[in-house]
């Protein structure tokens, strides 16, 4: 195998979990009449994306966490991994790159199709350093919609994770990596279909996990010369309950090295899950520790890493907010068509010419700062908004997406159509200048008050169901601890 260059490795890792956590007890309560066996899975909560989150927006949040963790890593490429990309044609990673403010010269691509999508990319990036300066951003996000009353509805969660790979002060470096492809179809999902179709779990466990995956792990360990007992952190998703523990036992990894799948708090994030579990492992691992990450899906990828002394920066996801309405989840995921009234019939057709003309405005939350009077304003305009200035063509672009802000005025509107009533919006004043009438998101009904500190998040603004388009913009959300 290739020896990594000194200082080449994972520079930062992060995971993003949506705020809403659906109580599995509520899921069970709805299905108990026909699927009482779900009871064995019905512990804790699973994360669910809000109506305005998708794999693109969650990837953006993970990307922003990484930008804050390694602000100096000049990103030269971005890979977005997901099996639930919102667009089959339109570069999803390009939407993420624009929201993150990456330069047009950054190479961007989508990868898809299996639970290995992200880990395979990470292994390749670590195995094959290109010798060039600059960080490589790998983001993975998943928002799968399993059939109601399936085990997957219980096990899966929505979320994102990511890493920056490059030369610098890595938190982990590669020891070995192994991959194997195998068209063992444990489950599949046809393009355009929402729900997956899976085969008997006992066969998947025996032939897939304890067969192909265990073999690949053994080969990786053999490549490295490491012993399974040396592994202190074994990060393996378990879309079948406790299958990771079974694999650990089969290959001789100690039971206490098995990293939690966070089943009871978030659920399984599909192709983002190995990166999310790796993030948790990296934060808990001592310098020098050996970490094994493995994922099964149309084959298997295995990555063996060594933790360095470099501390992990950034924060871990907060506890979120428990959501007890299963019906709300069904509606958010489009699985039930509720009576939203005529106000929901508005045509949200997007003028794509206007969208490109004002692209930076919506993608980057780009306003202007007047060079003459210093006023920050949104939208950026030819003439300065300050009535005492009115300078023409005086504005330098400034993004408001990371600027702190506060509520000037607000309402919770029960008349307007929104998939998550009430429609909350108000005037937002940015602390460094700038005022925007904005939507609030991830906000509780009684939470808004004048002066409340806010931060910005990138979300779906409107869906055009008629044409299959969605437009994104920034929304304001309360600053919360943890």
């Amino acid at each position: 195998m290739n020896s990594p260059k000194p200082g080449y490795g994972i520079l930062a890792s992060a995971r993003y979990v949506p705020r809403l956590r659906l109580s599995r007890g509520e899921i069970l309560a709805q299905h108990r009449w026909m699927a009482p066996a779900l009871r064995t899975l019905a512990k804790g909560c699973r994360s669910v994306a809000s109506w305005d989150e998708d794999s693109v927006t969650m990837a953006v949040e993970a990307g922003r966490l990484l930008q804050r963790a390694v602000p100096d890593a000049s990103i030269k490429d971005l890979t977005l991994a997901s099996t639930t990309l919102p667009f089959a044609e339109r570069l999803n990673a390009g939407i993420v790159a624009a929201a993150l403010g990456l330069a047009p010269t950054v190479a961007v691509r989508d990868v898809a199709s299996s639970a290995r999508a992200a880990l395979g990319e990470l292994a390749a990036a670590l195995k094959y350093p290109d010798g060039q300066a600059g960080g490589r951003l790998l983001l993975a996000a998943e928002r799968r919609i399993p059939r109601p009353a399936s085990s997957q509805e219980m096990i899966y969660g929505d979320g994102a994770a990511g890493v920056v790979v490059g030369t610098g002060s890595p938190i982990a470096t590669i020891v070995a990596a192994r991959g194997a492809h195998a068209d063992l179809v444990d489950h599949f999902r046809e393009t355009g279909r929402e729900h997956e179709y899976g085969w008997e779990e006992r066969w998947v466990r025996d032939a897939g996990y304890l067969g192909i995956a265990a073999d690949t792990i053994r080969q990786c360990l053999a490549d490295s010369g490491a012993d399974a007992r040396d592994i202190t952190h074994f990060s393996m998703p378990a879309p079948l309950p406790r299958v990771n523990e079974a694999v650990a036992k089969r290959v001789g990894i100690a039971p206490d090295a098995v990293v939690s799948t966070e089943h009871e708090t978030t659920g399984d994030f599909g192709c983002a899950q190995p990166l999310a579990m790796l993030d948790a492992a990296l934060r808990g691992a001592a310098p020098g520790a050996l970490l094994l990450v493995a994922t099964f899906g149309s084959g298997c990828d295995v990555l063996l890493l060594r933790r360095t002394e470099q501390p992990c920066s950034g924060s871990i996801p907060g506890a979120g907010k428990v959501e007890s309405s299963y019906m709300k989840y069904l509606s958010f995921t489009g699985q039930v068509d509720l009576e939203w009234g005529m106000r929901s019939e508005m045509d949200n057709k997007t003028a794509l010419t206007a969208a490109w003309r004002d692209h930076a405005r919506a993608a980057r939350f780009e306003g202007g700062r007047c060079d003459r009077c210093g006023s920050v304003q949104f939208p950026r305009a030819r003439l300065c908004v300050n009535p005492d200035c009115r300078a023409q063509d005086s504005q330098t672009a400034v993004s408001l997406s990371d600027k702190p802000a506060r509520v000037l005025s607000h309402t919770s509107d029960f008349l307007a159509y929104t998939p998550n009533p009430p429609f909350q919006f108000g005037h937002v004043d940015f602390e460094e200048g700038g005022r925007v009438l904005m939507e609030f998101t991830d906000t509780d009904h009684d939470e808004l008050r004048v002066g409340l500190p806010l931060r910005m998040v990138y979300r779906v603004k409107d869906f055009d169901r008629k044409r299959g388009f969605r437009r994104y913009f920034w929304k304001a959300t309360p600053v919360r601890e943890g």
């Binding site: 005529m342 106000r343 997007t350 405005r361 309402t411 509107d413 008349l415 919006f425 437009r471 913009f473």
Partner: protein, 401 residues
Amino acid sequence: MASGIRDKVAIVGMGCSRFGERWDCGADDLMLEAFNEAAADAGVGVPQIEAAWLGVCLEENNVGKTAGPLAQALRLPRIAATRVENACATGTEALRGAAYAVAAGAYDIVLALGVEKLKDTGYGGLPVRTRGVANDLWLPNATAPGAFAQLASAYAAKNGVSMPDLKRAMAHVSVKSHANGAINPKAHLRNRITEADVLKAPPVADPLGLYDCCGVSDGAACAILTTPEIARSLKPDAGVITIKALEVSVSNGDEAGFNRWDGAHIATAREAGKRAYASAAITDPRRQIGMAEVHDCFSITELVLMEDLGFSASGRALYDVLDGVFDRGSALPVQPDGGLKCFGHPIGASGLRMVYEIYLQLRGRAGERQLSGIDLGLTQNLGGHPHQNVCAVSIVGLLGA
């Protein structure tokens, strides 16, 4: 040097349809209903009208574009006709176009008519609509109650008053308008309500409840304008009613995008009011104005406008409202006809409907609502949202007042 419009244009006749859910009437019926009343009042027929202005706001929901629908409804003999639109201030815009044409000496007798047929949408409230292709990319698609509810949160914070206290004053505004609407035979909402009714009503846009919101109505209103001289010759036995001021102010993005506006008042109303007072030589509006019809689309709007128009000192509107300063029987009744709240709000007609009430009061024809000693009245007509709007202020009174 421009000398303004004071006393250059007379209102010689006015008409107003009954406002409400006029299921059985189209816009043409409503226009004719208002016009017939005005023509009879003025003693003027279609052949004498030389030009016309039609105000309609949401034409896509009713009559379609151009002034053609007015020309067809009244069978105007191929005279000049212009359609104007300035959101909910459209009615005053029609009046303004017509008035300035007379003031300019271009015509002797003209018609300003506003109409809106709103109750063909299939749902309550104003129709949802696009904000334009570029704005739709980022601007929240706010409802009117949601946009005006912003005033309440900012007003309470700015003035350090509790929301329950502000809600009580807002409730008083609505109770007063219902009491006035109850004695207006043309009003949409004619029921009396109590403060408790307002406070327990279902929420619309926090803190606005159902009774904090005006009616959405069908209706039309119109004015026939001429010179004071012709008005005197047409109606030798009646006093001449003239326009003293007719001002419009439009937001330029300052409130919405510059960090200076407090979110708790209508900046354009202050501007238009100041210019109107200068035009009409009014120095103490609370004492000199005999009555006012303001744009009470929501209770909080009326409350903050009392300060913007100089009827209340800054931060005092809440207390003045609760003290009954603007109730019927006070020195400065506001919305004696029930206002948008209860007379109703057929958008294009509303600015003219406000003038209609002053006109009736000046003529002594307000029936059970008749006030005494009115010689000057003010209208304030607002289109758009608190942060981005068109505000029209007119002052109408007896010639010489």
